[in-house]
C-alpha cells in the first residue's frame, strides 16, 4: 500500500466506518421494529402460541428441522407444515414417532399430551402466517 496512505488514516476509516454503519444498522432496526406489527402476525400470538414456542424450544426441534429456513437441514421445513399437512396429521405424526423403519431417519417420541400437541400446532399455525415475502418457494418447503 502506498506510503501516503498512513496507518492513522486507516485507523480513522475503521473507527468512522464502524460507528457510522452500526448507527445505520440501529436506525434500520428501529424502522424494522416499527414495521413488524403489520408483518409478524402478532395479533394471533396467544398464550397458547407462547406455550407452543416453549415446547418447540425445550424439545430442540431446531436440531433437526428448519423453521423459516433456519435450523438443521436433516428434516423437513416446518414454517409451512401447517398448510402442507394440516393440524390432525401433525399431531398424529408426532404421536406415532419413532417409526422404527430400518435405515430411515428417526424422530424421537417427546411424550406430549393432547393439550401440548394443540399448543405446538398453534405455534406452527402462527409461524406459518408470518409475512415471509413468499418464502418458501413452494409447499414442499
Amino acid at each position: 500500500m502506498s506510503a501516503s496512505f498512513t496507518k492513522s488514516t486507516a485507523r480513522n476509516i475503521f473507527y468512522g466506518g464502524a460507528v457510522f454503519f452500526f448507527l445505520l444498522f440501529v436506525a434500520l432496526t428501529l424502522d424494522t421494529v416499527q414495521a413488524l406489527p403489520k408483518r409478524d402476525n402478532r395479533a394471533n400470538l396467544t398464550e397458547q402460541v407462547a406455550r407452543g414456542k416453549k415446547l418447540w424450544e425445550v424439545n430442540n426441534c431446531i436440531g433437526c428441522h428448519t423453521l423459516l429456513g433456519e435450523g438443521a437441514y436433516f428434516a423437513p421445513e416446518l414454517g409451512n407444515v401447517y398448510q402442507r399437512r394440516g393440524p390432525e396429521f401433525i399431531k398424529a405424526w408426532i404421536k406415532a414417532q419413532p417409526t422404527g423403519a430400518p435405515g430411515r431417519r428417526q424422530m424421537p417420541n417427546f411424550h406430549l399430551n393432547d393439550a401440548e400437541l394443540d399448543d405446538l400446532v398453534a405455534f406452527l399455525k402462527y409461524s406459518s402466517e408470518i409475512n415471509t415475502n413468499n418464502w418458501p418457494p413452494n409447499i414442499e418447503g
Binding site: M1, C64, T66, L68, G69
Partner: protein
C-alpha cells in the same frame, strides 16, 4: 529429605526445564504460558467435534444409526457447541499469549487465568454431558430454563446457567487482559484484539433475549450469531493473524497494522449491514433484500484482502523464521477464509438466489468451509506459532513440522471436498425440491442425493485422519533442530 532423593528431584527439575516457564528463554513473559492449557483443551474438544460430525454424517445416510442413544439433534448440538467452545478456548489462549507480549508486561493475574480455565472447562464438559445423558427437555427442566427461557435456539442451546457461566468466564478473561493492556504498551494489534473480544462478550448478551414473537426472536438471535462470525470475530482473527505475521516475517509493524485496519474497516463496513442477508425471509420488511444483498456482496472483500495481506508480507519477509508450519497455516487461513466465507458466502447471498437456496445443503457447505477456513485455521495458526515457544524452542524439529504440514493438507483438502460434495447435494436439492412443476418432498429429495452424503462422509474420515496426524505432530521430537 535424603540426599539421594534430593538428587532425583534435581535431575527431574533439570529435565523439566524446557517446559518450565521460569526458565523458558523463548517466552518474553512467563505468564504467557497460561495459554498452553487453553490450546490443549481446544484441540481435545476439536477431536470431539469431529467425532460427532462423523456420527451425524452417517445418520444422513443410515438414518437410524445410534438411535435412540444419540438422536441427530443431540449429535448436532454437541458438534456445533464443541466447535464454538473450542474456538473460544483458542481465542482465549491467543489473548493470554498475545496481550502480554504486545503490552510488554506480565499478565495482570496468571492465577485468575488458570482458575478461569478450569471453570470454563468444567462448565463446558458438564453441558456436553447434560446433552448426552438426559433428554433435552429434562435438561431444560433441571437447569431452571423456566425462570429465564433461553434454550432451544440454534447454536444457543446451552442451559441458561451455562450461558451465565460463559458471561462470567468472559468477564474474568476480559478483566485480566484489559488490566494488562491498561498498564502496558498499547499497540494497534492489542486494541483490535480487545475490541473484538469485548464485542464478542457484549453481543453474546442478546442470547438472553428470547421473546415469544418468533420474528423478533430470530431478528435479534442474529445479533449474536452474525455479529459474531461476520463481525467481531473477524477483528479477533485479524489481530491474531497480524500478530503471527509480525513475528514470522519480521516486516515493519506499521505496515502490518495498516493492513489490519484496512481489512477490519472493510469487515465492519460490509458486515454490519450485511446482517440483512439473514432478514430476507423471516418476517422482516422486504427492503432488507436490497440492503442485505448489496452489503453482503461486499463481505468477500475483507477476506480477499486478508489473503493478499498474508501473501504480500510473507513474500516481502525480512527473516526466515524456522517455524515453516506456522507460516503455512497463516497463508492457508487467508486463502481458505476467502474461499469459505467469501466465495461460498457470496454464492448464495443475493436475495433472488437465496430465495431458492435458503435452508438447504448450500448453507451447510458454506458453514463448513467458512468456519474451518476462517476460525479453526486461525486458531491453529496461533497454536502452531506459540506452542513450540511455550515448550521451550523457537520451532519444532523438521520431522515434527513435516507431519504438521501433512495434517494441514489432509484437513484442508478434505474440507474442500466436504464443501464441494455438500454444494452438489445442495444444488440437486434446490433443483428437485424447489424448482420445476412437480417438486419432490423433502425426504424423497434426501434419498436421491444420498450418494453425495456418502462422499461427504468419506471426506470427513480423511479430515479426521488429518486431525489425528495433527495431534501426532506434537509428540514427534526429532533430534535435528529446524534450521533457519
Amino acid at each position: 529429605m535424603t540426599s539421594s532423593a534430593m538428587a532425583t528431584a534435581r535431575a527431574a527439575s533439570v529435565s523439566a526445564a524446557a517446559n518450565d516457564p521460569l526458565t523458558n528463554v523463548q517466552l518474553k513473559y512467563r505468564s504467557q504460558a497460561v495459554a498452553k492449557p487453553y490450546f490443549v483443551a481446544a484441540i481435545g474438544l476439536f477431536v470431539g467435534q469431529i467425532l460427532f460430525g462423523l456420527i451425524m454424517g452417517l445418520q444422513y445416510v443410515i438414518g437410524d444409526f445410534l438411535f435412540p442413544e444419540i438422536p441427530f439433534n443431540v449429535a448436532r448440538m454437541v458438534h456445533t457447541n464443541l466447535l464454538i467452545v473450542w474456538l473460544l478456548f483458542g481465542f482465549m489462549g491467543a489473548g493470554y499469549f498475545l496481550i502480554p507480549e504486545e503490552s510488554e508486561r506480565e499478565l495482570h493475574s496468571p492465577k485468575l487465568a488458570i482458575i478461569t480455565f478450569w471453570v470454563f472447562l468444567v462448565a463446558g464438559a458438564l453441558t456436553i454431558v447434560g446433552y448426552l445423558a438426559v433428554p433435552y427437555a429434562t435438561l431444560a427442566k433441571i437447569t431452571g430454563n423456566d425462570l429465564l427461557p433461553t434454550m432451544g435456539r440454534e447454536f444457543l442451546e446451552q442451559p441458561t446457567i451455562t450461558k451465565i457461566g460463559i458471561v462470567l468466564v468472559a468477564l474474568s478473561f476480559l478483566f485480566n487482559l484489559s488490566m494488562t493492556v491498561l498498564k502496558g504498551r498499547k499497540t494497534s494489534i492489542s486494541m483490535v484484539m480487545m475490541l473484538g473480544l469485548w464485542g464478542l462478550a457484549i453481543f453474546f448478551l442478546f442470547s438472553f433475549y428470547n421473546p415469544d414473537n418468533l420474528v423478533l426472536d430470530k431478528y435479534f438471535w442474529w445479533w449474536v450469531v452474525h455479529l459474531w462470525v461476520e463481525g467481531v470475530w473477524e477483528l479477533i482473527m485479524g489481530a491474531m493473524l497480524a500478530f503471527v505475521l509480525v513475528k514470522v516475517t519480521g516486516i515493519d509493524r506499521e505496515i502490518i497494522e495498516k493492513w489490519l485496519y484496512v481489512i477490519i474497516a472493510m469487515t465492519l463496513i460490509s458486515g454490519i449491514i450485511g446482517t440483512g442477508h439473514h432478514y430476507f425471509w423471516i418476517g422482516a420488511p422486504a427492503y432488507w433484500q436490497v440492503w442485505g444483498s448489496v452489503f453482503s456482496a461486499l463481505e468477500p472483500i475483507p477476506f480477499f484482502m486478508m489473503t493478499l495481506f498474508a501473501f504480500n508480507v510473507v513474500n516481502k519477509r525480512r527473516r526466515e523464521h524456522p517455524n515453516k508450519a506456522a507460516v503455512l497455516w497463516a497463508l492457508g487461513t487467508g486463502v481458505m477464509a476467502f474461499l469459505g466465507a467469501g466465495v461460498w458466502g457470496f454464492l448464495h447471498t443475493l436475495a433472488p438466489v437465496n430465495y431458492l437456496t435458503h435452508g438447504t445443503q448450500i448453507t451447510a457447505s458454506h458453514g463448513h468451509m467458512a468456519f474451518y477456513g476462517a476460525y479453526a485455521m486461525v486458531v491453529m495458526t496461533m497454536i502452531s506459532y506459540t506452542m513450540p515457544l511455550m515448550r521451550g524452542r523457537e520451532a519444532n524439529s523438521n520431522a515434527a513440522q513435516v507431519v504438521e504440514m501433512w495434517s494441514f493438507w489432509l484437513m484442508t483438502v478434505a474440507m474442500v471436498f466436504i464443501t464441494l460434495f455438500l454444494t452438489a447435494a445442495g444444488i440437486l436439492q434446490v433443483w428437485m425440491q424447489r424448482m420445476g412443476d412437480t417438486p419432490l418432498s423433502f425426504m424423497a429429495t434426501q434419498d436421491k442425493i444420498a450418494f453425495f452424503y456418502w462422499l461427504r462422509e468419506l471426506s470427513g474420515v480423511v479430515f479426521f485422519i488429518g486431525l489425528l496426524l495433527y495431534i501426532v505432530s506434537f509428540f514427534i521430537r526429532g533430534n535435528e533442530r529446524a534450521s533457519a
